[in-house]
């Protein structure tokens, strides 16, 4: 009978993404309730050492799919790999991140395993032995609770930053090698190249702190003051659709419905009015600060803290105040 929890430990270029450790943390909490082992599946090329490391973070078993075919991510290759590992491990629950990779991968795995999947979950719990997933729907205007009652594994893709990362301890994991039995012809879509942007910055979807600029920023070069604030508090800089459509910021910076969904601890919105389509991308932020000179801007309805004033006056002072605070 299916038992335990398996997590997909996402890695790129031989490094785990933060979501892998977040899944180990929530995976541990869930397995304490449903019983069975906490296992991880790692897919890549030359990642055996990396896979072994997960023992320190609570994984009791690590299923490893390693080979040339898996050097880069591919929907078909990785889905075959994860499905093969899941068939071998037979977990009651299978978790992936709701990252770009996880969102591409999880439905394909779900179809291979003929089970059900809840995507982009912000909360997971166990009731009567079943996984209950909570997730925002309708642009974040309400939530829905779902379960997968009759098939296993019960699958969920978890939004990055919804859970803290598992801390390193002293455990070790048993390594189980898995061969999904596919050849090069099985991959009809292949990554030719990965183009990197803005090296060194944490991606918005994984960021703990975000400073965003909206229409009120008025020009691309004015993002400089947001960058300065972001550097002081270790934030990633985002933008509203209005700022992107006006050419002040690039598309990869857009937070909101037609951009990225973010889930930071702190979101500082500067010159952003707070249109529904923006809120859809950031309303699960734990603390929201709004800076806008229009006191009627809807963003103030959602903000924990607000300052009604000109962002060009506020932001430089805020940068200085944070500098002082962090130097204490």
């Amino acid at each position: 009978m299916a038992s335990g929890v398996m997590i997909f430990a996402e890695q790129r270029e031989g490094k785990f993404r933060k979501i892998a450790f977040e899944l180990l943390n929530i995976g541990k909490q869930l397995k304490d309730q449903v019983g069975g082992p906490l296992s991880a599946v790692v897919v890549g090329k030359g990642v055996e050492g990396l896979a072994q490391d997960l023992g320190k973070f609570g994984a009791e078993k690590v299923y490893l799919v390693d080979g040339d075919l898996f050097a880069n991510y591919s929907s078909e290759g990785y889905a075959a790999a994860v499905a093969a590992a899941a068939k071998k491990a037979d977990p009651a629950i299978l978790l992936t991140g709701a990252s770009t990779m996880g969102k591409d991968l999880s439905p394909r795995v779900c179809a291979k395993l003929a089970t059900g999947l809840s995507s982009d979950c912000t909360k997971l719990e166990v009731q009567a032995g079943k996984l209950i997933a909570t997730r925002p729907v309708y642009s974040g205007k309400c939530y829905v609770k779902t379960q997968v009652p009759n098939t296993t594994p019960q699958m969920a893709a978890v939004r990055p930053n919804a859970y803290a990362a598992a801390a390193a301890g002293g455990g070790s994991a048993e390594l189980v090698k898995v061969d999904p039995g596919i050849g090069p012809d099985s991959l009809r879509a292949k990554v030719k190249e990965v183009v990197k942007s803005a090296a060194g910055k944490v991606d918005l979807t994984e960021a703990n702190v975000i400073v965003s600029g909206g229409r009120g920023i008025k020009a691309a070069e004015n993002f400089k003051i947001l960058n300065e604030l972001a550097d002081v508090i270790g934030a990633t800089v985002g933008a509203s659709r209005a700022a992107v459509d006006s050419g002040y910021a690039t598309q990869d910076m857009q937070v909101g419905q037609t951009g990225k969904v973010v889930n930071p601890n702190l979101y500082i919105a500067c010159g952003i009015s707070g249109a529904i389509q923006h809120l859809a991308g950031m309303r699960t932020s734990k603390v929201i600060v709004a800076v806008n000179k229009d006191s009627d801007a809807p963003i103030f309805q959602k903000a924990d803290y607000g300052i009604v004033d000109d962002l060009f006056k506020v932001v430089p002072i805020m940068t200085e105040e944070f500098k002082k605070l962090l130097a204490e």
Binding site: Y73, P136, Y138, S139, K145, V195, Q251, I307
Partner: protein, 264 residues
């Protein structure tokens, strides 16, 4: 080439969402329905590919009668014809049931390319396209922001946004691609387009004609079960400072972030 676009009709972004009394769904009266905004990129891409390479474009959509409005919009933009999966048996399908129904409608068309929006803005799952690809045994490229047709006309090179950059993916047809903002700028339907769309064929396809059984689709087949909808938790009113000296307001907020929110 033959291109199928899968369409969904969703509530408008600005629509007010009210839960039903039993918390099993949303009140559908008074909702303004639109074509899922991401699907506009899929329709536009299909039209551009047809303009350049020739062929036929078909829009496929599942849902009650109201969804034909979104289908007409796609036809008015220039799509050639539509297939409407229309049967009470399809209602309340989960992503797998929906993908099965779409696959049943699409398979006889033998398309070179299936285009979908990146996700539907109602449930934001992004599941149906990938499940559809698996069911039809096709490769997929999701969240495509740029697409170049291969010289052979049977493949494409796509850029998809990932964390911290882009993946450049080469894909062989037939394939499922999901379209993101930035791929193109969707056109508006022209008045002649709207007139022409009225005469274009929308073929209804029921459960029996689709070749599926009642076990494949609908609520009973759903592997994902909805327990309940929940309203947003009440957020306590925030502390908003105004009409004070800027440095004073900033100092108070920074202090609150450290001492009350304990976040910095």
């Amino acid at each position: 080439m033959k291109i199928v676009v899968c369409l969904k009709q969703t509530p408008d972004t600005e629509a007010t969402i009210k839960l039903t009394a039993d918390k099993q769904g949303i009140e559908e009266q008074n909702i303004k329905w639109v074509m899922n905004p991401y699907d506009e990129y899929a329709v536009e891409q299909a039209l551009r590919l047809k303009e350049k390479h020739g062929g036929e474009t078909v829009v496929v959509c599942m849902g009650p009668d109201r969804v034909t409005e979104a289908m007409r919009t796609a036809l008015a933009m220039g799509m050639d014809k539509g297939v409407h999966l229309k049967d009470d048996a399809f209602a309340h399908s989960d992503a797998t049931g929906t993908a099965k129904a779409l696959a049943a409608a699409i398979k006889p068309l033998s398309p070179d390319l299936i285009l979908c929006g990146r996700q539907a803005i109602d449930w934001d799952m992004a599941q149906v396209p990938a499940i559809l690809a698996e069911l039809l045994d096709m490769p997929q490229v999701t969240v495509v922001a740029k697409m170049e047709m291969g010289a052979d006309g049977k493949s494409a090179v796509c850029n998809r946004r990932i964390e911290g950059g882009e993946e450049v993916v080469e894909v062989k047809f037939p394939a499922v691609l999901t379209c993101d903002k930035g791929l193109n700028e969707p056109r508006y339907a022209s008045l002649p387009g709207i007139m022409k769309a009225k005469k274009k064929e929308i073929k209804p396809l029921g459960l029996a004609e689709s070749g599926l059984s009642a076990n494949d689709v609908g609520k009973a087949s759903s592997k994902v079960q909805i327990l309940e909808y929940l309203p947003l938790p009440e957020r306590p009113p925030g502390k908003v400072f105004k009409e004070q000296e800027t440095p004073d307001m900033v100092k108070q907020v920074v202090k609150l972030l450290r001492e009350e929110a304990k976040i910095i």
